[in-house]
Amino acid sequence: MAATDIAVIGFAQTPAERRAEGNEVQLLVPTVSAALAMAGLDRREVGFTCAGSCDYLTGGPFAFVQNLEAAGAWPPIEESHVEMDGAWALYEAWVRLQHGDIDTALVFGSGKSSPADPAALWPQQLDPYTLAPLGVDPVSLAALQARSLIHRGLATERDFAEVAVRSRRAALANPHAQVRGEADVEALLAEPYVRDPLRRHDLPPISDGAVAVVLARGDRAQALCARPAWIRGIDHRIEVHQPGMRDLTESPSTTLAAERAGYDGGPLDVAELSAVFSPQEGILRRALALPEGTDANPSGGPLAANPVMATGLVRIAEVAARIIDGRADRGLAHATGGQLLQHNLVCLMEGR
């Protein structure tokens, strides 16, 4: 039985930008400091640190090593790194905290998507023998998924546009969002396809950003934070990689992860979903069996800001924020890895 007295007690994120001025470390330094300050912790008190990033995105082997400079790794620290979204770095930190010998952890995720062309870069994430040489980019893959939804009668292009409108409107209240404003569904639908049936508004922006989250356990969490966001459960599951071997209209790994994280389908005050493409929100809502009317992505979600390698951890931070400041009692955050929702993580949080 995993410990349920581990909570988010601090966080910080950079505003997502199309082209951030500094390098990844320069984005992380103030972010990490701000998260620790919110948590009321000196960096030397942190028991375990874990980071998530992608060397290839940053553009060099061992690129993640420099990010250690934001973690304050002197004197030496207990630290690790995953080549995954920061949400999985949080998972590793949560696992580490289970042992009970340390009671705080620092987690961060970061990525600059601006230097490389995502359409050229991300095909290299695919099966190198059968898919990568085809050069199929994330938008084209997402379009295949969208086409499946339409073909099955599960969604329409109008549904996709409505997700985008809600995202941009919600993002007006989010100082970290990149794409925000009032938009009209008809006007959006009049725009040309980027990759049939997806239009510009169905796609995430290209973002640079970083996020840091502080975890604490038990009494320490309560001493440091008036209303910690307790992690009731967290789990992640992967599916097969070959898109032709999956039903792209469903996300069984999300369903399974939610179940294992202890989400029983009951009411949620907030859900932050890593629906990187607008059609994916509907897929995730169904996979989670979210109650009708659940406020999904009040931050605007990835359609408003998509700092790859931080996006998932930002979802956790956004849910935690609303619990910590009392706006929500129960929330669910979802992170995804790979293309087409291949790998999914669900984190269920509650104020007590």
């Binding site: 500094g22 400079e69 490389a116």
Partner: protein
């Protein structure tokens, strides 16, 4: 299953990726300095250590540094550690002759410039403690080529190498703690 030998089933997939990132404001200033023959760094407001090039933060204190913390350091210094690299051929390699790979602690700096060439002295006489000065390119030939936001302290194509000053070697106390 194909009867072809496995080796015949190998396909070469060449991928070219282009990463374009404007230099950060701090490195931009650093490059401006190099063009003028000056080497700029930042002094940490907390611990007073000087980093060249500046990172925009002190990694030991994890506090930000800005232009307000800018200092100039000398273009002379001491070799703190080195090796002689024998180049191996690989895609993109242009080197064919052994070259020096040295860390140089510039006078006034607390952090080394890594990966510097030492010229004007036989390789077997290069040593830790050797006093050196920068070999600048003529101003018109200087460029920022080689300097990136993810660089490790390169002086790009403004300073090609360092060369002995013929001063006596620096005593070990001065550089022993700056091996890397």
């Amino acid at each position: 299953m194909s009867d072809a030998p496995k080796q015949d089933l190998v396909m070469a997939h060449l991928v070219s990726l282009r990463y374009e990132e404007p230099l950060s404001r701090i490195l931009d200033r650093f490059v401006d300095g190099l063009m003028e023959g000056r080497i700029l760094g930042h002094r940490c407001p907390a611990c007073r250590r000087v980093y060249v090039p500046a990172k925009g933060y002190c990694p030991l204190c994890v506090v930000e540094t800005t232009e307000a913390d800018e200092v100039e350091v000398a273009d002379t210094g001491v070799v703190t550690g080195f090796t002689i690299i024998t180049p191996v051929a690989y895609y993109g390699q242009e080197e064919t002759e052994p070259f020096v790979y040295a860390s140089v602690l510039l006078d006034g700096s607390d952090a080394n410039l890594g990966g510097q060439d030492i010229v004007g002295i036989p390789h077997d006489q290069v040593r830790a403690g050797l006093r050196v000065r920068a070999v600048w390119r003529p101003p018109a030939e200087r460029s920022a080529e080689g300097i990136t936001n993810r660089g490790w302290g390169s002086v790009g194509s403004a300073i090609d190498a360092f060369t002995p000053t013929d001063e006596p070697d620096a005593p070990p106390e001065q550089y022993a703690e700056h091996l890397f």
